[in-house]
Each structure stands twice: as C-alpha cells, then as structure tokens.
C-alpha cells in the first residue's frame, strides 16, 4: 500500500521534472532554432539522468 503511494509520488516528481526539461528545451529551441541539435542532446541526457533516478527509486521501493 505505502509503496504504491511512494511509486505515485515518484511518478509525479519525475513527471514535473521531465515537463520542466522538455518545456525549457522547447523554449530554447524556439528562441534559437539553430541550436536545436545541441539542446536536444542535452535534453536527452538530463532526461535520462532523471529517469535513472526515478527508476532507481521505483526498483528500490519495490
């Protein structure tokens, strides 16, 4: 029961984080379309780091 609540919290946190990363990257690309490639790469790396954290928490919590 509690680990399900924890899993929900992790997903909420991860969702907020991914939303921030994606949104800011979109803004950045809109401001500077010529830097789109670099921004996308950085976005994927940060997204992957966040995902690793969230998955780690989910697996350790299970």
């Amino acid at each position: 029961m509690y680990n399900l609540i924890g899993a929900g919290l992790i997903v909420i946190g991860g969702g907020i984080g991914l939303g921030q990363i994606g949104g800011k990257a979109m803004e950045g690309i809109a401001r500077q379309p010529e830097a789109a490639g670099k921004i996308q790469t950085a976005m994927i790396i940060i997204g992957a780091l966040l995902e690793g954290l969230a998955f780690g928490a989910l697996i350790l919590g299970k």
Binding site: T41, I45, A48, L53, F55, G56
Partner: protein, 395 residues
C-alpha cells in the same frame, strides 16, 4: 519504383510486428484453457509475464493443448551445464520436460537435479523429492554453480555472432575500397554517428580514438539486443539485470583505469574549495563513483523491463477484455495498441543504446579531461596563447 519498394518494406515491418503480437496473443489465449478453465486468469497472466521477464533454461516458443487434451510445448531445449558436488555435469534441458516446479528429477553423473523456478538445485543424498520450508526454500537441496546456455546466453551469443558477421564484412570491404556495399551502408552512418555525436564531443578530440571500440561495441550490442527483444522469439537480454550489471561494470572499470591525476584529485582533494569542504566532499565523491554505473545499469534494466511488461499487458487485453468487447473486439484492440507500443519500443531500443553509450562516453570524458590550464596547438605544434595566457602576461 523507389516509393513502392519503400512501402513494401514498411508493410513488411508492420506485418512482422502484427505477427509477433499475434503469436504472443495466441500463447495467452491458450493459457486460459489450461487446467480445465478453473484457473485465475489474472494470476496466470502475471505468471506468464514473469516467466517472460525471467531467463529460462529452454527456448519456449508457444504451447497448445492438442485434441487428446495433452499439453504440447513447441520450442527447443538448451544445454544445462552445472558445477555440482560430482564435478562438471551437462545434460539437455529437455530432460526436465518443461517442469519448473521441481517435480521432475534428472539424474546425471551421479547427482540428481531439479528445476525450481528456472534455478537448478542439486538434491542431497537420499532425498526423493524436494521438500520446502514455510518460505518456499528447499531444505533438502542446494543451488549449484550454473553456467548453462540459457535463453539469454543463447541470445547474447546470437547477437555476438551477428555483430561479428556484420562488422567483419564491413571491415573487409574497407580494404578494397572506401565505400561499403550492401548492409554495410546502413552500418557506416551509425558508426560515424557514434564517433561524431557521442565520442568526440564528450571525450575530446585527442583521446576519443582509444575508447571507440568499447563505445561502438556497447552501442551495437545494446541496440541489437533490444531489437531482438521486440521479435516474437521472446528474448529479454537487456532486461536481465545480470547483463546490465556486466555492461555497467565494463564502463566502471574503464573509467577508473583511464582516470588521470586530475580525476583522482577532484575526488580526494577537490581544488579551490575550503579545507572543511574538501573533507566533506570526499565521501560524496566516492559515492558518486558508484552511483554513476549504478544508474546506468538500473536505467537500461528498468526501461527494457517496463517496455516488455507494457507489451505483455496489452497483449493480455485479449483475455481481460473479452467479456466486455467479445473475442474479435478485444483481440483487435490489443493488436492495435500492441502495434503502436511496439513502434515506441523500437524508438526506446535505440534511445537506450544511445543513452548508455552517451553517458559512458561522458563518464570517460570526465575521467580523462585535463582540468588544469591547457593550451591549444597550431599546425606546427606551437602553443597558441588563449585568454588566460594573455591575462597572465598582462599581469
């Protein structure tokens, strides 16, 4: 002509995915009738999903119940190789007759073995059947050192041979001329991509070459393994935590052994911070050494596992939604959803290979980076003054 052949390729991929999901769906349809209908469907679906996620000692394609009511399994057996108390023993997994509950006892080389949930146990002297304690641990059998060719090991060998064949022929083609032919034309841009987008920017222009072989190997190994997991053969190589642990261990060892003076200095005596902070930072940095490969292995394992669970869950809709939508409706819904998730999973397969390679390159780059003041060199090897040189000479 070109467009039509492209379309045929696209149709081929789509139909392959459809057949894949349909083959797996068939597997589940039969599962419901297993045991005369008196089974808990939800439990059986969970069991099937877990069975798929785990490694297996035989290669199981599908099962059906024939006209006589006998349960028939289609697949092929793989060798079981274990180190028992009587030395090295090997026999084919078909001798277990698809039993994973420890009921079938196989006698080989004077030792008796049972397959208990895909773990091979050796029975003690005089024991006739496996006896469990309250926590479902066998009390009269012990685990053996298992080096069997399991399903995942078989998959790893398959991927290895595929890569050896592809890149061996690609390498031979470069000896004749500069442009590869055939399938090599599809591989060359990927190799260039790993070099120019992953290795060069992260490790640095002067040092990236040494690490290219490792980065290319993990990239293609993870990618092809992930794609093999999307075929109807039911491989789950990168979803085995042992495989990802091993891959992350490679990165860990390479990073530690290529770490230069600055890398270790930044861990044990961080420059440019007060002494008290230096002491506080030591345990944090030491923990950081371990968390980097740990996050690598967890990310790959969890992503692939999650993908497979979602696909299996959507396939299971054929059974769980049958009462609401009917057989055709539920199967159709399941097929469409599985198809789209499979397409996303193909993207994830590439993305995870990319991320693993990218982060490995990033960690290696951190370890080999020159943190102190370094100089750019011009064509003759003379140092070019940069901003700090100008400032120093000015001061």
């Amino acid at each position: 002509m070109k467009i039509s052949s492209l379309r045929i390729h696209f149709l081929a991929v789509i139909s392959f995915l459809l057949i894949g999901s349909f083959a797996s769906a068939q597997e589940h349809d039969v599962a419901e009738h297993h045991g005369g209908g008196a089974v808990d469907t939800q439990e059986e679906i969970t069991e099937y999903t877990n069975h798929h996620l785990k490694d297996a000692h035989d290669f199981h394609l599908f099962s059906y119940t024939d006209a006589a009511g006998e349960r028939q399994h289609v697949g092929f057996s793989l060798p079981v190789i274990v180190w028992s108390s009587n030395g090295l023993v090997s026999f084919m997994s078909s001798e277990f007759h698809h039993d994973t509950d420890g009921e079938v006892i196989v006698e080989a080389n004077g030792s008796r073995f049972v397959n208990l949930h895909e773990h091979i146990y050796e029975l003690e002297e005089g024991a006739e059947a496996v006896v469990m304690d309250e926590e479902h641990h066998p009390i009269n059998a012990h685990k053996v050192f298992d080096i069997s060719i399991t399903k995942s090991v078989f998959g790893i060998i398959l991927v290895g041979l595929l890569l050896l064949f592809w890149f061996g022929s690609l390498g031979r083609q470069y000896k004749k001329k500069n442009i590869p032919t055939g399938f090599g034309r599809a591989l060359e841009p990927l190799v260039i991509y790993v070099r120019d987008e992953i290795a060069r920017p992260n490790i640095g222009e002067f040092k990236y070459k040494k690490y290219m072989s490792f980065l290319l190997t993990v990239f293609f190994f993870i990618w092809v393994s992930n794609l093999l997991g999307m075929t109807p053969f039911g491989f789950n190589i990168t979803g085995q935590i042992a495989v990802t642990v091993c891959l992350a261990l490679f990165t860990f060892v390479i990073v530690q052994f290529s770490g230069n003076k600055d890398y270790w200095k930044h861990i044990f005596w961080m420059p440019d911070v007060p002494v008290i902070m230096k002491i506080i930072l030591i345990p944090i940095e030491l923990l950081g050494i371990l968390t980097k490969p740990f996050s690598l292995l967890i990310r790959l394992f969890a992503n692939i596992t999650a993908g497979h669970v979602v696909v299996m869950g959507l396939i299971a809709l054929t059974i769980t939604l049958r009462e609401q939508f009917g057989a055709v409706g539920s199967t159709g819904l399941s097929l469409v959803l599985t198809l789209f998730i499979s397409l996303i999973e193909i993207l994830v397969a590439f993305l995870q290979a990319f991320i693993f390679t990218m982060l490995s390159a990033l960690f290696i780059g951190m370890a080999v980076a020159e943190h102190d003041h370094h100089h750019e060199h011009d064509a003759e090897g003379h140092e070019i003054d940069d901003v700090e040189d100008v400032r120093e000479s000015f001061v």
